[in-house]
Amino acid sequence: MAKKRHHWIVRVTHWVNVVAIIIMVGSGLQIFNAYPAFARKGELFCCYPFEHKPVPAWLTFGGWLAGARNWHFAMMWVLVVNGLVYLAFIYLHGEWRDLVPRKGDIRDSWQMVKFYTFRRKDHPHQGKNNALQKTAYFLLPIAGIFAVATGVAIWKPVQLSWLTALFGGYVWARYWHFIAMVVIVVLSVVHVFMVFAVDPYSLPSMITGNYDEKLSPEARNARPFYHLFPRRARATPPPEAT
């Protein structure tokens, strides 16, 4: 039956992360809208096609620039501490082994893509996560670390100028900070979509910690929106009363 799937530290840091990321992205976009461009004054910027076009206000958080900055500079500590707790935990407790890339991951990812696009009939065999999940959950902390590092670089471009220089100077560091956000948002949106479309049973498992392997996507042979419900057990005659 139900097996322990997520340690409580993983569950707590997961949901703290949800709040922290939503607020960091929303307040970050509000800050971005104060000057929705990357070019230094008097220059042009090569690599952003939407210079001077603000993002929709409904994506922003914090009300105005100062409010958003206050949120951003407060929540950044929550994000960093939470991230460190999570990384320290998976390192010490061994969960990193579920996420670290291994030989064959690319092949396995390709098999998952083939399965999702109906070019393969049966769900590839997997461990705790499928190969695509593994890749996403491995990339997310890296994107997070990158977001924090580029964020510090544009917070302290004079006092920590060596860090800002590492990312190509202030203008580029600000751009990479934006790109890190885009990567995190894309990974998160796909993650949430797949939870609902493929494995809604994993949602309670991130709350209670318990997961019934009989309901796993592999057991259900589930693609997005296919076989959402468990296969009905074959009718077996009731055990005879003794």
Binding site: G63, R69, A74, K156, Q159, L160, Y170
Partner: protein, 247 residues
């Protein structure tokens, strides 16, 4: 024998569903309690975080950290935005207010009034540096003026002066600074921009300029520099922006 049902049921739904539904309801309640700038009760927490950040930022601050303009960066020139809080460009009206002079006072040995000519006779530097705006843009400009350290030496600033207030004739605009940022080697009381005398659009006759502070901390249209034992807020600092505003 039937399988024992392990889950507590609440109103016909089991614990898992309850938690899933409850989680959704909780998030909805949280969102409802927020306006666009977040829950009101969070304000105290945000102010607490700002005070903690102030400590971190001041601990991180070094006079040896010097702003450098990246190779190949272009000067902003006339692309530098003009900015003030008065309804029109503040211009010092000599006929009404007499000759402009900068008052340097507070915790100093020799309070002074320095005319523009006086300032120009003091040691002069030109710094080609970045301008970091709170909005996120940067601009390269060359500021010419008196190093703040020279001014502090001239008036005999007291060691008890831990803060400096830069006041202006742009309405009630002012911003107070920590003394270490003011004493940074790139902080100048500037009367020149890009090789020309400062124009009213950018803070004439004189303004403070330092790449270690965000634009809004660099008061334009200076009237007074006051050395203080305590911080004295500022125009934007009192309206929600970080008091420190350092980069």
């Amino acid at each position: 024998m039937t399988e024992p049902r392990k889950f507590l049921t609440i109103g016909g739904i089991d614990r898992r569903e309850f938690l899933a539904v409850g989680g959704g309801a909780l998030s909805a309640a949280l969102l409802a309690a927020c306006d666009s700038s977040g829950p009101k009760s969070a304000e105290k927490l945000l102010r607490y975080a700002e005070r903690k950040n102030l400590g971190v930022e001041r601990a991180l601050f070094r006079h040896t950290a010097i702003d450098k303009v990246q190779a190949g960066a272009h000067d902003a020139g006339n692309k530098l935005p003009s900015y003030f809080v008065s309804p029109t460009v503040p211009v010092w009206d000599e006929s009404a207010r007499g000759k402009w002079a900068l008052e340097v006072s507070g915790l100093v040995g020799k309070p002074m009034r320095l005319t523009l000519d006086d300032l120009q006779r003091l040691p002069r530097v030109s710094n080609r540096v970045n301008h970091y705006c709170v909005e996120g843009w940067t601009a390269v400009e060359t500021w010419t003026g008196v190093p703040f350290t020279e001014l502090a030496k001239l008036v005999g600033a007291s060691p008890d002066a831990h803060y400096v207030d830069f006041q202006s004739f742009d309405d009630d605009y002012h911003e107070s600074w920590d003394i270490e940022s003011a004493m940074h080697p790139q902080t100048v009381v500037a009367y020149g921009l890009d090789g020309k005398m400062l124009e009213p659009a950018h803070g004439a006759p004189a303004r403070v300029y330092s790449p270690v502070k965000l634009g809004y901390k660099n008061t334009k249209y200076l009237t007074k520099i006051v050395f203080l034992p305590k911080m004295n807020g500022g125009y934007w600092s009192d309206r929600g922006y970080e008091w420190y505003g350092g980069v």
